[in-house]
């Protein structure tokens, strides 16, 4: 005898959890299925090495939508964001650029390189704040369909147009630039200090297969400025207990709302009868029935694996096949016996509670990208490192530390060898690059976990290992995400929906796709 639910959510990543919670909140009987033993997808904390908690994949929080935090009362369920307020860029010549919470200190630091930049930095921050506010509206709406003649769609487009015109001419120009330029070109219109430009432009390459000089990277830059914590834009934070705490908070809220959360439950196939979803069948053969099925997985899995491509129109199948999920990022998690000691700023200090960015010059990152273009991991990669245990002592035993290193570039496919054989060589390249600035690093490493895009695909099912479930390129955004004509969370199979990062507004721990999908589903159910 098979169980029956109103809705079944496939995948227990943060978007799946948010989606399930919103559906349950509307009174639906919801079951969520996660293949792993643990919820969270890429939003997990795991004790990989005894006593050391790693935010294995995603490691900082900023983009989580405030309305979701309110609606799901996440603070009550344990969401605690500790501020991550500074960025240190160590330089090969032993110097450094430090940008901290105190604007005057930051001003002084940047002035050592250029007073002009120090002044521009404030205006830049303000401009990006304006832009983040400008696009905030888009994060909250379902993408309209520009090809439809339905008055609803025209109205949505009209409202969109009015919103943009409302920004005023100058803001609009800046927005167009951000949508189209390379992050380095965009930043060079503001700044002249190369390491500063490099460090800022790095936000434009994170998670994408682009260099800081590639057109399109400025959008990714903007995407990382959309963060908002307690109403403060572009504030980045760190979840107490590691990123997994975010998923746990959402899960706990979902549970309270009545969602049944099942782990170690890998879905094999979508069940459908004459064009209508009827449930799912698990790999263990169990059949679970529901009139609504939502996949938070990437489109290749949602459409080509779970669903039966022969049930789908060719244009969708082609679009999904062409959907770019080629991963570019790796992760190296370190358990450390002591605190890292930086050559440029020896000893303890505020800089250890912030991000340490290995981005000495724009060319450095471009060269790293050049390696990846031809199927090699970067010999000298860009690294964004943080030491969570400095902010949250519970992450590691007393006196010991964990260090999380986000690395680019690590191409999903290697020209020579495979990731099984290259993984540790990649790890060495990362540790070597870091050691140049953190002399004591090699001596204090107790354990090292190296993750390539391929590993992410293996472990959490991200096809291609793309951390956004698909490139954030103009061709894959808004009404084109994940596929032209299928950007409104629906699929050609009635009752089958998508709610992952591969849908608008895209990747990062935003929860927005999960929420927007839920709103669309509820709209359909009310009909």
């Amino acid at each position: 005898m098979a169980d029956r639910y109103d809705a079944i959510v496939i995948g227990g990543g943060h978007n799946g959890l948010v989606n399930a919670a919103y559906l349950a909140r509307a009174g639906l009987r919801v079951l969520l299925l996660e293949q792993r033993h643990i919820l969270g997808g890429a939003t997990v904390s795991e004790e990989i090495y005894p006593g050391f908690k790693f935010s294995v994949f995603s490691y900082v929080v900023s983009l989580l939508r405030p309305e979701i935090i309110r609606d799901l009362q996440l603070s009550r369920h344990g969401l605690t964001i500790l501020p991550l307020e500074s960025t240190l860029t160590p330089l090969p010549n032993g110097d450094h650029i430090y940008r901290g919470p105190d604007p005057h200190e930051t001003f002084r630091n940047i002035s050592r390189f250029s007073t002009r930049d120090a002044e521009a930095y404030r205006e830049y921050g303000h401009a990006m704040y304006q832009m983040a506010k400008a696009v905030k509206y888009i994060l909250g709406i379902r993408p309209p369909d520009p090809t439809s003649f339905h008055p609803r769609e025209w109205l949505a487009l009209l409202k969109l147009g009015r919103h943009f015109l409302g920004l005023g001419e100058e803001n609009l120009y800046t927005l167009v630039k951000l949508m189209t330029m390379s992050s380095a070109d965009f930043l060079e219109e503001w700044f002249e200090t190369d390491p500063l430009i490099a460090t800022l432009s790095a936000s434009g390459i994170i998670g994408t297969f682009l260099g800081p000089r590639s057109p399109g990277s400025a959008y990714v830059l903007l995407h990382h400025y959309m963060g908002e914590i307690d109403g403060v834009f572009r504030a980045w934070g760190f979840q107490k207990g590691g990123t997994g705490g975010v998923a746990e908070a959402i899960a706990s809220s979902a549970r309270e709302l009545g969602v049944e959360l099942r782990t170690n439950a890998r879905v094999a196939k979508l069940l459908s009868r004459n064009g209508r979803a009827t449930g799912v069948v698990l790999e263990n053969g169990d059949e679970l029935h529901a009139t609504t099925v939502i996949s938070s997985l990437d489109p290749k899995l949602t459409f080509l694996k779970l669903a039966d491509p022969s049930d789908l129109p060719d244009d969708l199948v082609n679009a999904v096949r062409n959907f770019d999920t080629y991963g570019s990022s790796g992760k190296v998690n370190l358990a450390l016996d002591a605190a890292p000691d930086l050559a440029c700023l020896p000893g303890d200090g505020a800089h250890l509670r912030g991000a340490i960015s290995i981005s000495p010059s724009v060319d450095y990152i471009e060269t790293a990208y050049d390696d990846a273009k031809y199927g090699k991991f970067s010999r000298r990669p860009y690294i964004d490192a943080i030491i969570p245990s400095m902010i949250d002592p519970d992450m590691a035993p007393p006196g010991k530390h964990v260090m999380s290193c986000f690395v680019q570039y690590a191409p999903y496919k290697l020209a020579e060898g495979d990731w099984e054989s290259q993984r540790e060589a990649f790890g060495d390249a990362v540790v070597d690059s870091l050691s140049q600035y953190i002399p004591n690093l090699k001596k204090i490493i107790l354990h090292r976990q190296v993750l390539s895009p391929w590993d992410m695909e293996q472990q959490i099912g991200l096809t291609g290992g793309n951390i956004f479930q698909g490139e954030l390129s103009l061709s894959q955004l808004f009404f084109l995400r994940p596929a032209p004509g299928y950007a409104q969370y629906r699929t050609p199979i009635r009752g089958y929906y998508q709610c992952g990062s591969a849908t608008h507004p895209g990747g990062g721990i935003t929860g927005a796709p999960g929420r927007l999908a839920a709103l669309e589903i509820l709209k359909d159910l009310r009909k």
Binding site: S214, P215, N322, T367, K373, L480, P484
Partner: protein
Amino acid sequence: MSTDFDVIVVGGGHNGLTAAAWLAKAGRKVLVLERRDKLGGAASTEELIPGFRFNTGAPDAGLLLPRIIQELDLHKHGLDFVDSPVAAFAPQPDGSAVTLWRDAERSAFEIATFSASDARAFLAFQKQNERFAEVIASLAQLRPFAISNNSIRLMTAWARFALGVRRLGRRDMMEFLRVLPLSAYHYLNEHFESDALKGLLASFSTTGLMQGPRASGTAFMFLYQQMGGANGGYRSSLVPRGGVGQLSSALAHAAQGFGAQVRTGAPVQSILVASGSVHGVRLSTGEEISAKSVLSSVDPRTTFLGLLGAPQLEPRISCRLRSLKLRGSTATVHLALNGVPDFPAATDPQLLTGTIVICPSLDYAERAFDDAKHGRVSTHPVLEARIPSLLDPGYAPAGKHTMSMIVRYAPYRLREGDWESRRERLADLAVETLAQHAPGFLSLILDRKVITPLDYEREYGLAEGGELHGQMGLDQMLLMRPVPGFIGYHSPIAGLYICGAGAHPGGGVTGAPGLNAARQANAELR
């Protein structure tokens, strides 16, 4: 107040001459002022080597808007085209070759010899590109709209355009919107498997751009280059009989026929402005000529920071003009040949009458760009070579031939050394690269001339050697072209217009900026 002329057009390139001819036809009193002692600008045919004539800039006029030929009767003024059944011939490292024919079917047949699936994909791909290229061609003839208070007329024109896009059908429209910001790399990989074919097709997706085929927006350039209509899947590349320069002289004749005056060897030193509106120009000789309006076909940075002068502009505008991305990335090598080069891969000598392309793969093109990105000349350059004398004897003495090679990438700013010291090195690289596919090629070379981005700046007046008068990335298009604050062909100075490649739709021998600017100026002429 009475003025010497209604309109002065600064610069006698094809866009300037198009504007002049159109305005003269409309009954305006027009004067064209060209700095060099010959017309044509970057669309010229010149005797660089005694007895040998070369297309020194643009290798063809394939993108020219047909309506310009009709409206200005250019055939009557001596314009006609030399045609080759071959679009492109691309010898490969393994000794084989890919040929694209004007006749797409024949191209597909050719492709089938090395990839059945690519051959199948090719025809549909090319038909789609033709449909998209048509949309871009109609876009090219529209004036960009402003963010606010546009004229009803302009809005209706755009509405008509939108309807045209809509008429593509739902699927095509979405695909069009998806492809515009795409990279040529992704666009081609989505359709084809063969490196040789993808490389050949990618070769023109970065024309004039300081970008590799992986860059977003290069799919747009790929389609833009096919505006001229069907050409067997390759970029449109019809050459005027007697050389590209013939287009300029035909335009000049047309203009003069309509009563315009054309002066060469007349460098404009400054554009004269009084109380925010233009009233003429001053030549380097000191001579002042007054006019109601001035159209400049010179690149925007030179026009406004050089001829006009920053003090005439708001600081934010002049600042934007300074950061306008020109980024010349193309050099040309012109060779006098003592015979036809022998390409073993060319089973039929006719194959050499199109464009000879050296670009065996997408990665080859990307690596060529990587060098330029880091301020170096490409060690393995992408080459587009033509031997116009094969179809048109006028270029060279009997039995001899001329070859013009476009060499990518040649960055205007070299990280090491300067162009004086690198010029010959670049030429050596180019001819040696070609010689790998044509044994004995070097021994055919009688003489050679190299034009670097720096030469294009100095001799042809292209700032930074930027043939497009501003990179044609998505960030410098439509209302962002040439820089935000300029709407359509207007400048912040009343009566001063831009009619060159720096204006919408951009570079290439299209005549579109000249035509559009002329129509706008004519409508607004006091």
